[in-house]
Amino acid sequence: MSSFIKPKIRRKNEPVNDLGLIRSDYDGAMSTLCAGCGHDSVTAAMGRAFFELSIEPHRAVKVSGIGCSSKTTSYFLKEAHGNNTVHGRMPSVATGAFAANADLTYIGVSGDGDSLSIGVGQLIHAMRRNVNMLYVLENNGVYGLTKGQFSAAADIGSTAKKGAVNQLPPIDPVALAMSVGASFVARGFSGDREQLVPLIKAGLMHKGFGLIDVISPCVSFNDHKGSTKSYEHTYKYYHKSVHADYVPPSKEIKAAYDDGKTMDVELHDGGTIRLRKTDKDYDPTNREHAMKRIMASGGSDEVLTGLLFIDEQQPDLHQRKNMEDRPLNEIPYAELNPGAAALKELQKGFR
């Protein structure tokens, strides 16, 4: 923690977004995380993404579970709705909230412990259902909050701070997401905001479930030699594969496909995700192809990053289940609750 709260300063020439808000209008409470924690950078990237997209803070919903990563929903968008759920239960709370009001922008923040151990079942089903939300998984390979036990994301052979060696195979959230049909799958790194901010923006604008696995080093318990989630290791083996920029509907897009490195994916809102590929032959719109590449990288030290898969055609939970489009709080009470007679009528059908 710092000795005092970050002051809100308005500089001369302070940039404002379309709503006339400044970047610090998207800040939250002062972080109480360890100095240097990757999670703080992810928080800053999320704040910036919401700022740049000009989303009204009170039209956003932040949900999280338990862990250092899950605490961070307090540290940005202080005017947004939010819920810190029970450990690992964020996806179901998010699903419920989304069912009640599909008009808001949903962002879930969780850790590798919260998501891949106690909450792994919840995560899988939210992905299957294609709940329209962005799920940011801040992955540091450990349970930071409980002082650094290996998480299910720890690589075989990586060591804990005091030397213990992890023997169990890791769950790769990206591979997991691919296997259960997630419609937006990406990996980022807290140390690369140039890549992460656009990824978060694309994920927020994507209709359906978006997962970003963000390597986010734990400086206190997993930043040593022997760790495969340290700053040093990540910077060393970092590979940027597909850069994704969100281009809003109003902006004219000049297509330049000929080099094989640029690709546009149209979104439901009329905007576009423009992909810039380092690997020319990689096709992030082809699930089978993408899975192969992801699996190949899984066995190596490589940290494969970028927007690895996107499928904009998949219907989200609302469409698939033919659910009410209007937020429940806007539906007149009589319609929302048609009364005992109507209930009786409904129950008859189940007899």
Binding site: M1, S2, S3, F4, K6, P7, K8, I9, R10, R11, K12, N13, E14, P15, R23, S24, C34, A35, G36, C37, G38, D40, S41, T43, A44, S190, G191, R193, P217, V219, D223, Y231, E232, Y235, K236
Partner: protein, 600 residues
């Protein structure tokens, strides 16, 4: 781009905008911290080292530091630096035993100083303790120069001036009052080892318009102020016109009000944006109901039977472009303004009728002596100029700095060493870290606004000419004001080797002045990665050496940094530190002996 050379003392000095802007480089944040700790005498002594007259300057300095203050980048008003200087002076204990004493023996070198103003006194202050025999020649019966004759006593009490002059006289300086030097050639024959001319710019400009010669109620501003200061003038007519809107004009109008004027008009040729007076001096005059009229250009003096009755002005309209520049003007009419007296405050020149033109001192085409900008030596060896006498009218704090520099030259001249071989400034950096998120300076940003100075009430202040108008800050006021200082001299010092590029500093910075970026050829390319990327003139971009993990570099825009230390608090590896920079400026007594001499 190459990494910034922070070992160059100018780099961090420039970051301390106030100190950099001060001609004498007063260590402002350091003395403000001393005031915050209640160490008023220490704050006074620290001031005195650079500016010699903290009590005087704490009231009437031109304050080039304040417009430069970093605080103005996040708020309207700068820290009240000048007023805090007065706080140090007002609350100090008796500091006489901390001043250099008159040396037991002299070094046998005799220095003549002409004019008992701030420049000469600074030379004496620096040289007398080193053993030089300093003699000051003053034409008036009291010392002070322009500090006495041109600054009215209601802004600068005589006691304050005399006390600080007294400190220097007590170092064994011989002050010869009522002793004008009437011939430079005569002075050459008196056996001095060096001569310093600190006679100011004592010739006010005249305005030769129709009617000027016909009447006696037209006064030259600085001469008139001088005759008031020496009690030769004690009244003026009821209706007074002041021509000019510089600081002298403000002193003239306010003095008039104290000598019986009822209706004072200050006439400006141009609009307000072009006024020369400091904003606070304008404010103080207007508070006393002085009427400032713009766009009036003097045309003629009107008189009846030798008695002044008024002045005619041309009314001017200006064309002003988007940059605020005047691009055209037109006379649209004329106005007659009745008055009893006119005071001309339209500038002054230096004049040296007493220097023979064959005295070996070269004068340029404007008839001012040719003076070296570094050494302050004239074209005659051993004759030095400083203060307004050197380059025309500046202000007290410049005169002090000229005095320091001339003292160095005089010392070198007397020792027979190279005048240009001056000991360069040095900077030492000391970490202020005391523990986890604990620093020995108050780093938290305080959003308080500038405190307002209280003034003596309107009735009382006009009853006596020498009633000081400003009351000084109260304890409550200065306790708040000191916290407004951003401690720009506590520098963000970066050690690239320790950085692990976690971005914590970048995320916490309340003004987003940091970024980690790839190498680039130009500053503009590097700046593109900052959220506010415009370059502000005179403000540097810090560029680090290569970061170990990625080979990228850390950059920092010095312009907006608040020195709050949050980057250092959030840095897990202490790659950022907050270190106090102590600038060592070497006056005459600290000049390193020349190499040849040291070898002997």
């Amino acid at each position: 781009m190459k990494p910034t050379d922070t070992a160059n003392p100018d780099y961090f000095h420039k970051v301390v905008d106030c100190q950099w802007a001060c001609p004498a480089h007063t260590p402002v944040p350091a003395y403000i911290r001393l005031i915050a700790q209640g160490r008023y005498s220490d704050a006074y002594m620290l001031n005195r080292e650079s500016n010699v007259f903290p009590g005087v300057l704490g009231r009437v300095c031109d304050r080039p530091c304040e417009p430069a203050c970093r605080r103005t980048r996040v708020e309207e008003d700068p820290v009240a630096i000048c007023r805090l200087k007065r706080v140090a002076a007002d609350h100090r204990d008796d500091i006489t035993d901390r001043l250099p004493k008159k040396p037991k023996t002299t070094n046998g070198k005799k220095i003549a100083l002409i004019g008992a103003g701030p420049a000469s006194f600074t030379v004496a202050n620096d040289l007398a303790p080193m053993g030089y025999e300093c003699t000051i020649f003053e034409k008036f019966g009291k010392p002070g120069g322009l500090m006495r004759s041109n600054i009215p006593a209601f802004r600068l009490p005589e006691s304050v001036l005399m006390e600080e002059i007294g400190y220097i006289l007590d170092m064994g300086v011989d002050l010869k009052l009522n002793t004008p030097v009437e011939s430079m050639s005569w002075l050459y024959e008196q056996g001095y080892d060096a001569i310093f001319v600190g006679t100011g710019a004592p010739k006010g400009k005249d305005l030769n318009l129709d009617g000027r010669a016909e009447t006696s109620n037209i006064h030259i501003g600085i001469d008139w102020l001088e005759s008031v200061a020496f009690d030769h003038t004690d009244k003026i007519g009821e209706n007074v016109i002041i021509i000019g809107v510089g600081n002298t004009a403000m002193d003239c109008c306010r003095t008039s009000l104290r000598l019986g004027a009822k209706n004072v008009k200050v006439m400006a040729r141009k609009p307000r944006a072009f006024f020369k007076a400091s904003p606070w001096e304008l404010e103080d005059a207007e508070e006393e109901d002085v009427n400032i009229l713009i766009n009036h250009s003097p045309k003629s003096f009107v008189h009846e039977n030798g008695k002044l009755t008024g002045m005619v002005f041309e009314n001017i309209e200006y064309d002003i472009d988007d940059n605020g520049k005047i691009v055209g003007q037109e006379v649209v009419g004329e106005t007659l303004i009745p008055c009893d007296d006119v005071i001309l405050a339209i500038g002054q020149d230096n004049a040296f009728p007493w220097i023979e033109r064959d005295a070996g001192i070269e004068f340029d085409k404007w008839d001012v002596p040719v003076v070296d900008k570094t050494t302050f030596e004239s074209t005659r060896k051993g004759v030095f100029f400083g203060g307004d006498a050197a380059f025309g009218p500046l202000n007290i704090i410049w005169a002090v700095e000229h005095g320091h520099q001339a003292a160095i030259s005089i010392h070198k001249h007397c020792q027979g060493t190279d005048l240009m071989d001056r000991t360069p400034d040095e900077i030492t950096l000391e970490s202020t870290k005391m523990g986890m998120n604990e620093w020995r300076y108050s780093n938290a940003y305080d959003s308080s606004e500038r405190r307002e100075m209280e003034h003596v009430d309107m009735v009382k202040r006009f009853q006596k000419l020498d009633t000081e108008v400003e009351l000084g800050f109260t304890a409550e006021q200065f306790a708040t004001e000191v916290q407004r200082c951003l401690n720009c001299d506590v520098h963000t010092v970066f050690e690239p080797k320790l950085c692990e590029e976690c971005d914590a500093c970048i995320d916490i910075c309340p003004v987003e002045c940091l970024a980690i970026v790839p190498h680039a050829e130009t500053e503009a390319e590097l700046r593109a990665d900052l959220t506010v990327s415009e370059k502000v003139e005179g403000q540097d971009l810090y560029v680090s050496g290569d970061l170990p993990l990625t080979g990228r570099i850390m950059i920092k825009d010095e312009n907006v940094c608040l020195h709050c230390g949050l980057c250092a608090e959030r840095c897990p590896t202490s790659a950022w530190d907050m270190a106090e920079g102590i600038l060592e400026i070497h006056h005459a007594d600290e000049q390193e002996p020349a190499h040849a001499e040291a070898a002997e």
